[in-house]
Symmetry: C2
Subunit: 663 residues, 2 copies
């Protein structure tokens, strides 16, 4: 009609404010397989009629929708849910309509209660049912019709007419949905494997894994490490690039400008005469060795994660085979990587604005496909924020269409909106600012942002205690207990965490003065790590990771809640779970040098506990059991004897008879 | 490429989180003519390149866009603005791109500062300018080129190359926008006349306007009222329906079930043998009288607002001319209005689900067009929430396409989401829950919701102190000063407010016991109001409305801020304005029976005032001037002597030399 092109003016239901939804359905929410997805929306119509709504869902590409009825909560807010049982993308949407039969039932009841004559109303209902019976043979409905028709009293007629069973027959079998309102868009959900949400990462340089000092480590050496790392509770072992390392402009020890002949170079200077991104640095072993390692690791529940760094050393074969993929300056030299005043002459970036961008994209994706075919399922992507967003969206989307079990971790330490955007366009997990959040306020603010806003729908934080690039001042100066503290925080604040392994395990804290760079960084030389040292945090890792595996509350990142405690050096938070008995209360002393103590409250009501009963408490780090009473408790945390407590509050043990007695 | 259909992989800029925007651009934001619209968005790209962005805007239907550059604020948030200078719908959108020339300038500067060789960079820039010069004759740019080419030193070259003037030439004349990112949707803004935002309503029943007791009022009587109402500061005079009133099932006095012969009936029972929605109740006068009244009122700056009630009395001509527009029951009787257990037998609703809905819609819109042609520009719409939303959206949108100066006030007292939806689909102003918000907390919470959330973009509250349907218990029992209190609140909390005039003016407070209905409601009988009574609030209205007209801070509803005061019976709020000197601070004693006092703080810093100076304060209600010092002040509010204060804080009077002295 007129300029508005209205085809059907009787479409009276409204659907709006749908959650979850990212950018109006432009991007997917993220879940793991088996999750139940809870969808809410404002749904209403004009006037006094009732509305009804269905949540529709299907695996992307399937023809038929499945559907489940939504329920009204309050204030016109409706809720529905469905489970995602296969990997890949599923979609959901909502249909809503004015529910005439329900409206009729409700008005009938109201009129009857008000003492009004309901004869005509019953007649209207009977006609409705009668018309429905013309559509198909339906013995059950016919029986309703006849019983209602022969009701002996108004009372009986109304009781029959408003029956929920009759409603369901009419709703399911005779949907009067002429003028259904459709949401008008399909909202995607990316269904990932469980490790997307719950993973424990250990970063190690393969070349530093030899047990013999001074020898170049190999994949065989790595394989020997696997049982130990599995026993410690790690399930992702991540390698910096394993490809041939360029010789030109090779960096020397401690990132010195000019490498010496004996220097091994940075693994991120990818490509040499031996090959590029689809080759292996000869000293690490053969492709067969690598595949064998991947398979062995899988037997221990460990994924080998590769580093994807889309950049080249000046010796990379691409420079001669595909010069158009790089930027050449007027003096015929190649544009190396730089962020003035910094320059990285051992690295040449791809020129993504080349006219040959299609071929470049295809080739870069082929690199991933190549390693996927070798069994790799997890990639840690180096600096994704310096490559175009459309490239990542295309790469990740199309790869996950064929391999929905692949996980991409974005190593982007950049501005928050860029980091969130990378997560929106497809990265499975993301590095965070956790490394630089030290105080109670900093940690509380940041983790609250990550776990209580819409960000939870698409950004899965992976908290790293350290990386080969980041030895924070806090770790440099905090003494040995800061390592315990940061490990407990990373491992309990989020379900994904990682460590740059040996350096953290051995509490390495010597930095190049005035920087966050490790002294004698592994990035430029081979290390020999004495992991059997008495100083190793091995047992502590084992304990923490076992607690994570045994406690479901630590296996997801949302449902984190910060509580008050009267000491600014102690951070106190709950990892809550819908099964309240599985919830944990965690206290960590952030001061690595001094004992700190404070009074805190157990949120008994929130945990569904009676206020006046005594209750059993299990402290997981010391494996001690207590019987407590009352909300307010006291804690004293000595870094030397244990800077943290993880409490599991147990329901008061009561026999049935106690229940009866108290109720 | 593949399944994603990517045409251009080099479109590297991102535009997201645009504000303002309602339902992803599905609905318009609302502004008045002359407003400056401020648009913000997150805009960024990968890597280290700079982005640039333009805000584009045009009147809906125009071919060419106007455009203005956006500026970076912080954290990747950009801002731009444009003004709307004509009524109707305008649209805006955003384009963003990687700004290569700016990126080059910045890198050049950084490299130069770092002491790096910049020869090649200058060469790159020269080539760029040279290429641009091939495109058109450009003496100015040629001069830049030559000066840069012959620069005598690196220093001079860099100074020239990074010049903002050169940047602007390159940006404006040689936009290198091959791969522009477009927002992808045009966001609408409805530009209304000023009264949409700032209006003062007086509701009066025309039939009660005769100066002679017992006589039926006429439009001529109404015309006599106009100068007085104008002098009191009202600019909208709203009439309940003026159409012929049905005889069948006519309601008696005090809404008694059966009217007597002498009863005049409810004006909302529209339609009789004399005509329907396009006719005038004969006793009110002729169509010429009405048009004359409308024109006279306009001379006084007053709009006559009509009541649009889309419903019929059982005697409405439509029932015989268009029986298909109504719902007929199996016993051949017509479905009257009801909301069980309530029934309204003098009213027949339209059946919007008729197959003839198109014809019905057209006719209902014709009613509006008819009165628009008679000069009416403001409509108060009765119960819009009981008619389909698509009908309103179509009606309002298409009418405003021809008559963008028309204002629709939604009288929907229903659930909040339905009220907000009506505003989204087009209603210019909306009734609110203000009438039922009494305590400081209730008022603060509700007005905060209305003025500080996204709701401000589309929902313009019109605060009514009372209506012919709503005489709140507070007004019934609060004594005379509650009328002062509620009037000040309505008139200062929002820029649109209204009163059911004579009843409020004369502080009528007698209700039908146990209800909010006026005793002897004008809805069912004719009144004679003694508006010259000593009890009349006339002078108070005049004063309050003058203060509203003189103070721009009271002429919009946003920029309302609540402040603390140590007395729960006193509400304290600021009406802030970008011109800080125009801001007002308002204190109202909510207790109509007792004096209340408290200490409060003048937000000097927020008002741009020095903390240590004394300052002049003008209290507008008593027109008194004070000299104060310091933030903390004391107020005592006696309802009898004046339950409120409106303070205008004046900048300390200082001569230029004082400024110099203090700086």
């Amino acid at each position: 009609m007129d300029s508005m092109n209205i085809k059907e003016g009787r479409q009276r239901a409204v659907i709006t404010a749908v959650k979850p939804e990212v950018e109006h359905g432009r991007f997917a929410i993220k879940r793991i397989i088996g999750d139940e997805i809870v969808v809410t929306a404002d749904i209403f119509t004009d006037g006094h009629g009732d509305v009804a709504a269905n949540l529709l869902y299907r695996k992307n590409g399937e023809k038929n929708w499945q559907s489940s009825p939504m329920q009204l909560m309050n204030n016109d807010r409706w809720i529905g849910q469905f489970s995602v049982l296969s990997l890949g993308v599923s979609v959901y949407t909502i249909h809503a309509w004015v529910d005439y039969f329900r409206t009729w039932q409700k008005n009938l009841e109201k009129k009857f209660i008000a003492g009004r004559d309901i004869l005509i109303e019953i007649e209207i209902g009977l006609k409705w049912i009668h018309d429905s019976l013309q559509k198909q043979h339906d013995e059950e409905l016919r029986e309703w019709f006849e019983t209602l028709q022969h009701a002996k009293s108004s009372n009986q007629a109304v009781t029959l007419a408003i029956d929920q069973k009759l409603y369901l027959i009419m709703r399911e079998r005779y949907p009067n949905r002429l003028w259904v309102t459709e949401l008008g868009r399909e909202l995607p959900v990316t269904v990932d494997p469980p490790k997307a949400l719950f993973s424990t990462w250990y970063e190690v340089f393969p070349r530093s894994t030899s047990l013999q000092s001074g020898k170049h480590g190999t994949f065989k050496d790595c394989e020997n490490l696997i049982p130990d790392l599995a026993q410690m509770g790690f399930d992702v072992v991540y390698f910096p690039p394993i490809h041939p390392i360029g010789l030109s402009k090779r960096r020397g020890k401690n990132n010195s400008g000019e490498g010496q002949e004996a220097d091994v170079g940075s693994p991120w200077a990818i490509g040499a005469k031996e090959g590029g991104h689809q080759s292996i640095h000869p000293q690490l072993g053969s492709m067969d060795d690598f595949v064998h390692l991947v398979e062995t690791a899988k037997k221990y529940g460990i994924d080998i994660a590769l580093d994807i760094a889309y950049q080249c050393s000046p010796d990379h074969p691409y420079l001669t085979s595909h010069p158009d993929w790089f930027r050449w300056l007027p003096d015929k030299t190649i544009q190396y990587a730089e962020n003035p005043p910094k320059k990285y002459e051992d690295i040449v970036p791809f020129y993504f604005e080349t006219d040959q961008w299609r071929e470049l994209w295809e080739e870069l994706r082929n690199i991933l496909l190549y390693w996927i075919e070798k069994g790799v399922r997890i990639f840690r992507v180096d600096n994704p924020h310096t490559k175009p967003f459309p490239f990542w969206e295309w790469t990740i989307t199309t790869i996950k269409q064929s391999y929905p079990d692949v996980i991409f971790l974005a190593e982007a330490f950049t501005r928050p909106k860029v980091m969130y955007w990378l997560a929106k366009i497809g990265f499975t997990q993301s590095y965070t600012y956790f490394t630089w959040r030290h105080t109670k306020k900093e940690l509380t603010d940041y983790l609250t942002e990550l776990t209580t806003t819409d960000i939870v729908e698409y950004f899965r934080p992976n908290l790293w205690t350290n990386t080969p690039d980041i030895l924070t001042e806090e770790l440099q100066r905090g003494g040995p207990y800061i390592f315990h503290i940061r490990l407990i925080l990373a491992a309990t604040l989020a379900s994904n965490y990682g460590v740059y392994g040996p350096a953290f395990e051995l509490m390495v804290h010597q930095a190049v003065t005035g920087t966050e760079e490790y002294m004698h960084s592994e990035k430029y030389e081979i290390h020999h790590w004495d992991r059997q040292s008495r100083e190793s945090l091995k047992n502590f890792f084992t304990q923490i990771n076992r607690i994570r595996k045994e406690n479901i509350a630590l296996q997801s990142t949302c449902h984190l809640k910060f509580y008050e405690i009267d000491n600014d050096q102690i951070i106190y938070y709950g990892k809550l779970h819908s099964d309240l008995k599985q919830s944990l209360l965690i206290l960590v002393n952030l001061d690595p040098f001094h004992s700190q103590s404070g009074n805190f409250k157990i949120p008994l009501e929130e945990l569904g506990m009676p206020l006046k009963h005594s209750y059993r408490v299990h402290e997981l780090l010391f494996d001690r059991h207590y019987t407590w009473q009352g909300e307010t408790q006291h804690v004293s945390l000595n870094p030397h004897h244990g800077p943290a407590r993880i409490f599991k509050i147990q329901q008061p043990l009561r026999r049935e008879s106690d229940f009866e007695y108290f109720m």
